[in-house]
Subunit: 324 residues, 2 copies
């Protein structure tokens, strides 16, 4: 049976689909790449998060209302949550539609997985209304349509941790192979300098080829990072948070990056780097006091540079999108 | 205190060093790279293994006798075990020497860590005679002098598992950072076709640059492989045993490679590939029956190709160089 046949059968036999049910979900911010794991690693954060309300309606259409000041498109085809819901409607035979209210707290363009929160939130909320007929893999596949709209690339390193929580590995996109890693309880300090770095620009400045010797260093660090997470070895995590390929190029776009990284590690951070394609920077700490000291370092640097910023002292979220 | 000061102090206070003590060690074969972990991963095998006998002598020189038919050099400066022992003597102030008997069963040039077995065996045996004054990191550092002689590159992906047993990650060589991974009990089928592939040639045919998109696939697989070992998830290990960078180039040097790989997986192997720089090929299986079926496949292919070969059905060695 194909996926769409299976879905149709499940939807037919589901007691739901009559319209009227509502659900409210909390959709966490995420940090993709985790320094050396470009395109394959990501983790969910306890803060910030979006709130999304979905209502199942009888008419096969998607009606979107924004409850924030970001002025994101409300036409379903141009909205990240919208395209995910349209895809779900397509796969289930246009039997129903959705009313959506989005209250975004993860600023678009922050590098904290704002589009992934909308895409993953829409997929999980719709699935809840439909009686949980989809697997995690299905939800990731649906949510990737949102990422494609946002950045023209179907990537899953924000979506997956947003849906599942914790730290996740996307071993492969084709075929989809996601692996939940053990995630030690660590504090995460994040600064979002209010400058614009477009994901597409951040991708374009990367070289298409890398030196084999650098690739070897990188996969040593990735292997170390994964082993560190699985073993709960925070020193190994710290030693492995090194990126010789992407960070040296992308960090040029973020004023103050080197200073923040250097001073944060001096202040006790295990390490950290660019969150996703930036401009946000994140640092991991074992201790809340260190995490708050790191926040002060970040504030000082951007204050001195005259750049507006927002900081968070938070932790790795053990749960992904959750129903409230 | 510097390493050499520490060593001198330890040797002074050691009850040994008077000459006459002997030790016999068993030095396991190793598989470096493990398909996608080029230069960073390796594992020890229960078979084949070398036997090495060391005697501490008062005179500061190294006397080598070969107990096999490989005609390896017996001058200390040209012998892999010899240069390791000279380095240990150098670091400990030329206070003693060694008589060495080497009975090699791991054929040089097989891709099964023959030089690493000699280098690691010499380091561990000497350390035993000196009252175990060196750390594992010290032993790896000493043994790398042997690898440098054998292949002009200081690499540790055979030496480390040879010393520690199991599956090891070398996150970094400078500074040395070795990580012991969990190693599930798996069967390993190995075939050594009697053709010559020099490590230095196998290195030279590699391109100096790799496509970023291939590097990303590779680090997804490495991350998956490490997670698979740590979780004991053999399916994940199997899915991750894929190499899009090194194997497509190096496998050209090994007749029958693609056929063996394809048929072995059909016969139930998790996966496998080139052992080190070849020409040996290894396959991992969860079950001894599968492992023996894989052996027959290997035998059939090389028999048909008219190439002499040797096969082993063995397992991951949980112990490295051991004192008999």
């Amino acid at each position: 049976m194909s996926l769409s046949e299976k879905i149709n059968q499940d939807v037919q036999s589901s007691p739901l689909g009559a319209g009227g049910q509502t659900v409210t979900v909390k959709c966490p911010a995420t940090v993709a790449n985790l320094v050396c794991g470009f395109d394959i690693l990501g983790m969910a954060l306890d803060e910030p998060y979006d709130i999304m309300k979905l209502k199942l309606i009888d008419e096969p259409k998607v009606i979107i209302t924004n409850k924030d000041a970001y002025n994101l498109p409300t036409e379903a085809e141009k909205n990240v949550a919208g395209v995910v819901l349209l895809e779900i409607m397509e796969k289930t035979g246009h039997k129903f539609g959705f009313e959506v209210e989005i209250e975004k707290h993860i600023k678009p363009g922050s590098g904290l997985g704002s589009s992934a929160a909308s895409a993953a939130g829409a997929a999980v909320a719709a699935n809840h209304l439909l009686g949980n007929i989809f697997s995690t893999d299905d939800l990731v596949q649906f949510a990737m349509f949102g990422e494609k709209l946002a950045s023209s690339v179907k990537h899953a390193d924000n979506i997956t941790p947003c849906i599942t929580g914790g730290v996740t590995l996307i071993r492969s996109i084709h075929p989809l192979d996601i692996v939940q890693l053990n995630s030690p309880s660590l504090f995460v300090t994040v600064v979002h300098p209010q400058i614009e770095v477009k994901t597409s620009d951040a991708r374009q400045i990367l070289r298409k080829e890398v030196l084999l010797k650098n690739a070897i260093k990188q996969w040593g660090n990735i292997a170390g990072l994964v082993a560190g997470f699985e073993k709960g070895d925070t020193d190994l995590i710290g030693r492995s948070l090194e990126d010789v390929i992407i960070e040296p190029v992308r960090s040029i776009l973020i004023p103050g990056f080197d200073e923040i990284k250097h001073k944060s590690k001096e202040a006790g951070a295990l390490g950290g780097g660019i969150s996703g394609s930036g401009p946000s920077i994140f640092m991991l700490c074992t201790d809340e006091t260190f995490a708050k000291n790191v926040e002060r370092i970040m504030q000082d640097v951007f204050h001195r540079l005259g750049i507006e910023y927002k900081t968070y002292v938070t932790s790795i979220a053990q749960q992904g999108v959750s129903v409230l």
